[in-house]
Symmetry: D2
Subunit: 388 residues, 4 copies
Amino acid sequence: MTDLSAVKAALKSQRIETPSWAYGNSGTRFKVFAQAGVPRDPYEKLDDAAQVQAVTGVAPVVSLHIPWDKVADYAALAAHAKDRGLVLGAINSNVFQDDDYKLGSVCHPDADVRRKALAHLLECVDIMDATGSRDLKLWFADGTNYPGQDDVSARQDRLAEALAAVCERLGDDQRMLLEYKLFEPAFYTTDVPDWGTAYAHCLKLGPKAQVVVDTGHHAPGTNIEFIVAVLLREQKLGGFDFNSRFYADDDLMVGAADPFQLFRIMHEVVKNGGLAAETGVAFMLDQCHNIEAKIPAIVRSVMNVQEATAKALLVDAAALTAAQRAGDVLEANSVLMDAYNTDVRPLLAEVREELGLHPDPVAAYRASGWQERIVAGRVGGQQAGWGA
Amino acid sequence: MTDLSAVKAALKSQRIETPSWAYGNSGTRFKVFAQAGVPRDPYEKLDDAAQVQAVTGVAPVVSLHIPWDKVADYAALAAHAKDRGLVLGAINSNVFQDDDYKLGSVCHPDADVRRKALAHLLECVDIMDATGSRDLKLWFADGTNYPGQDDVSARQDRLAEALAAVCERLGDDQRMLLEYKLFEPAFYTTDVPDWGTAYAHCLKLGPKAQVVVDTGHHAPGTNIEFIVAVLLREQKLGGFDFNSRFYADDDLMVGAADPFQLFRIMHEVVKNGGLAAETGVAFMLDQCHNIEAKIPAIVRSVMNVQEATAKALLVDAAALTAAQRAGDVLEANSVLMDAYNTDVRPLLAEVREELGLHPDPVAAYRASGWQERIVAGRVGGQQAGWGA
Amino acid sequence: MTDLSAVKAALKSQRIETPSWAYGNSGTRFKVFAQAGVPRDPYEKLDDAAQVQAVTGVAPVVSLHIPWDKVADYAALAAHAKDRGLVLGAINSNVFQDDDYKLGSVCHPDADVRRKALAHLLECVDIMDATGSRDLKLWFADGTNYPGQDDVSARQDRLAEALAAVCERLGDDQRMLLEYKLFEPAFYTTDVPDWGTAYAHCLKLGPKAQVVVDTGHHAPGTNIEFIVAVLLREQKLGGFDFNSRFYADDDLMVGAADPFQLFRIMHEVVKNGGLAAETGVAFMLDQCHNIEAKIPAIVRSVMNVQEATAKALLVDAAALTAAQRAGDVLEANSVLMDAYNTDVRPLLAEVREELGLHPDPVAAYRASGWQERIVAGRVGGQQAGWGA
Amino acid sequence: MTDLSAVKAALKSQRIETPSWAYGNSGTRFKVFAQAGVPRDPYEKLDDAAQVQAVTGVAPVVSLHIPWDKVADYAALAAHAKDRGLVLGAINSNVFQDDDYKLGSVCHPDADVRRKALAHLLECVDIMDATGSRDLKLWFADGTNYPGQDDVSARQDRLAEALAAVCERLGDDQRMLLEYKLFEPAFYTTDVPDWGTAYAHCLKLGPKAQVVVDTGHHAPGTNIEFIVAVLLREQKLGGFDFNSRFYADDDLMVGAADPFQLFRIMHEVVKNGGLAAETGVAFMLDQCHNIEAKIPAIVRSVMNVQEATAKALLVDAAALTAAQRAGDVLEANSVLMDAYNTDVRPLLAEVREELGLHPDPVAAYRASGWQERIVAGRVGGQQAGWGA
């Protein structure tokens, strides 16, 4: 039997982190379709994030991306967040958009480029000090496009050196989250292509170094929830970059492509204690709303994570364990599917009402008039996007 | 026994079409790395293409992309080509970079957008009339990102209507080449995702409508040479967009990722008569040289197609057929591998010398001083790329 | 607004066909794990199928596989079925388990082998005449393992010849369902690897020849519901072989690996009229219950198809079309997801009770005591499996 | 400049290990096609392996599989090998073909089954003591087919416990090679699905535990040579199970599906010192010759490994490093491709002649009359295969 009040308490205390860049424009290599009302600066991004938090109540944290969110005064930015009931979350570094990085950043064959890249990473830690962020999220576009282009092992050496320097610089309450990705933008080798590589580096770097799982960064057929379970068992799961995909790193709304997979992931998280705040697992979104309205898409994504979490919390753990131990394949699967097949939307509506929120966040956002205000008000200036 | 003089003759008469846009800048959604010396307009692209033709002797045709290659006077552009020993090849349409195309072009739910897209396609046929191009190459970014976003069948109806209108407009010696692609930029459905869909449309449209096979546009594990054989058997193979990939539509140099696959493709082409000019198979490149020098990369790509073709021509057809009929699996495989394992570079060097060319095209390009001239001379102006 | 009585009527009239071989033993190349109580002959398979029908009410049709279900008197077998409220469904041919078929059957380089294979296919039509089956389901293991092993085009010619002979033999009310499969047991080329190849053959053969979609037979990333929509639009969808997969042709219970995909498939079926009996779409299961109890697994599979169908029927078609026409991506997706997120188990329980059935088929099967009876009673003899 | 005599020396000292089971019958789940002349027992398998060694000179080691190669007297078997110029190589355990292993072996929820499985593994070490084998190769079919079926983390705990017990039992000169595999026969989770999981276990177990890379066991798109480079850098590469695949674990002849990939793998091996005997990398074949003649297929496979190795040895390391350091993408790729495009068959013919062998191993085998002798002589008895 599941304890509904415990389920509700868990759902109320969940914290989902939304990414500043998802409020700005994004696209594919073929075209970026601009949207009306998109923020022009990090302050406006926070204003939008505050709307997501206002209607969901579980998204008070916002990740930043440097230099896309570069400001003169990070303490002022943190204060702007705080005034809106938000806190600043992970600082995401960017060592892939400077001309110098054509052949890599911290893995580049040229030591000067490596030094430049490392300096940026260290600067990000400075920013963390200013924003009070706990996490530095590192994703490297580093890799090669052609066989022979560079030495795979040498690049691993260079990577290890840079990561060690970053870890050394971190404060006592700061962490380094290392992200892996199969491919794109590198097309032959990627220097951190899989969880094994990220894990091997993090293991040597100690407890401050943790692996982050981006749900869109795997080879076809990879069982992501298995990786989640293994990393939790190894105490090396730093967090998630949630999004969904049908093919590659599609960066669609989390839960849109395979809601059952998201549930299975959250089931491993719940079963292995990953929902407890002290485990330190960060539930971050990393998405691109190329063609759909951005703020409602982020609201919908937060809700999708909530629904998967609610279903995972509803799994009858005792019945599941009993069936597993008895080797009853169909019954064990059935216990899990019972939770998945439950319509948790009424439960989440209750949770929201108990939090003093409107039961339907999408309707609440629509009713708020915010979309009309930003479309009317954010005229002129340069819309935020990946390039700036 | 293979007749070497026939092999050489076939290699001398092969025509490989290079794409104007490969001479310009390109990149991923993360970054476009500009290169020094890149053309500023279609005329300069043709100047570069002429260098590729000068050193290879088999690349006299250049595909254009509209509007990236929009000029005031297409006859003048054709004359510029002719002066350099080139001819203008396929006209590639672009109905994916206008803000109106966010939800599609000829498959868009809004009839106004569909009309606009069709008008562009028809304009491309006008340009073909001016340039003397035989082929209109149609690739549609059309598709959807989310389940439910649009009606799959209705989109097929709209597509069929547009294709029929284009076919109707074509002159007697003009063709429509329909390209398919699994995904990107659409991430849930693509309106022409596979050869079956392209084939089904082309079949209804008659002999002017042919399928084009882009070697980077398939699901993992797809046997491309099988598709080539089937399309040739159905007389529906219009041509290739050659490039290579490890993961998705990586657009690397053809033959770089899987030279054996390229050989197997050319084996089916040769075996099924596709090398004969009268079959009408267009051997086009469609690549992005994001991090490598562009002109030498195109030279190398042309050479890779030549090497695969040479090996395919060296297959001992009689021995292969005999082993196949005898059901001798190892011997049949061995006959094919003998050709593949042959180092055909000396043979191609001879072919080039018999054509009055330097035996090593890459060395010849380096010695020409062209790269230094364009780097020094093409200063100022707006470099060509996908965006313009 | 959805009309609930129409939804219920559709659910009551749905017919799901279960495969005789799923009641027998199966396994992987590594091991077949026998289960107690498994049938020893086709008559006992029908006895088991009758239990599935007894508790679900929508599974009265049973596919046979020749020679696995070879009997002396097919009329007697049909009568056995009829006595239990069943009818005999598709006849599945088998031209892959004789030593002669090592290099193929109807595509074999040796004409004698081809003749033998064709004779078997024609014998299957004789059996259809005796059983009253409408459908001949053809799946060919034909293909090659090594490049060069055989001539791809020649094999297509041989295939076309055999299919034409089979079609010619069919009676007025009989159909030929051609199945495609990416790979396994052939590992380089498969002679009918994709829907395009199956479609191209069926198109030439006329309306009696239809394509069957096995949900486990595609390349990774293939959008199956797109294929379903296209085949329905072309009036070439003969039916489904339902099962589910995480990796390759895993043959797991349908809906177990990706219930959302099954829903999307059923959405295309419903939207495009494929649920109507007159469309002739056969909803067949083709699964292997290697490690789970067989009869309950088939019951569960039937229920999974029902649940996906129910959700598809609940989609608010008018709201969906309105959102699609308006280009409202999020709203259109939301309308679809509303149906998917609905818990349809209570609705199906009602449907069953209105049919005079127990609301919970799994519980009903357990309570029936059938499992205990067959485990106790089916002692001795040779258990049925793929090999015999 | 490459030193040809060093290349030849390296090629002469290479040791390729052939698997006893590749000499016996094998197949897919659909059918095992028996071949005439196949061995009836382990002694005859060694007789066949001796023929491969006789014509190649680099394949003196033979892996065994227990219980398929169970004999009363392993010392006698080792003597039989020695008499034929062979040594016994890795002992492969089998904990997947007993009825008890339906839900797993060392990861099974039932402690009794786990104990039984562990006892088998320890028995394999006893056999190693008798045969003088250095390596115990562990591949586990363990996993689950359905979400919820068992507890992923608990299974990892059970696995860790068994591996520790095995490692503890190993002698000073013995090793445990842990193999990973994405899927098959398990279809939802596999308990050692990727190199990261194998690595994490081996790291905790110490230097005797090493990872083995089966080239057919990865997700589509996985860069295997990257894994090879990383494992060599971590001193955790125990060896290879060579074979090739187009789709899944096809177990085709190594080098048949993607000879360029095999070259890239051998390039990483050579570059990172893995060819040196003291590194301990075992170059094993693990293949199924389902439709082709077995002994010639193994000869061909050995030759394919040799050709890839020869090409890797011919890479101009200095030129490669220079181009890599200069960031010259095309030149670095070109240096690698120069080696790959070289026809190394003449070089290997020389190497063989210098070893006193026929330059063409396939011709030598044909001329030996062995095939005719075994077809005529091995009549009656039970042919060896996977099942016994």
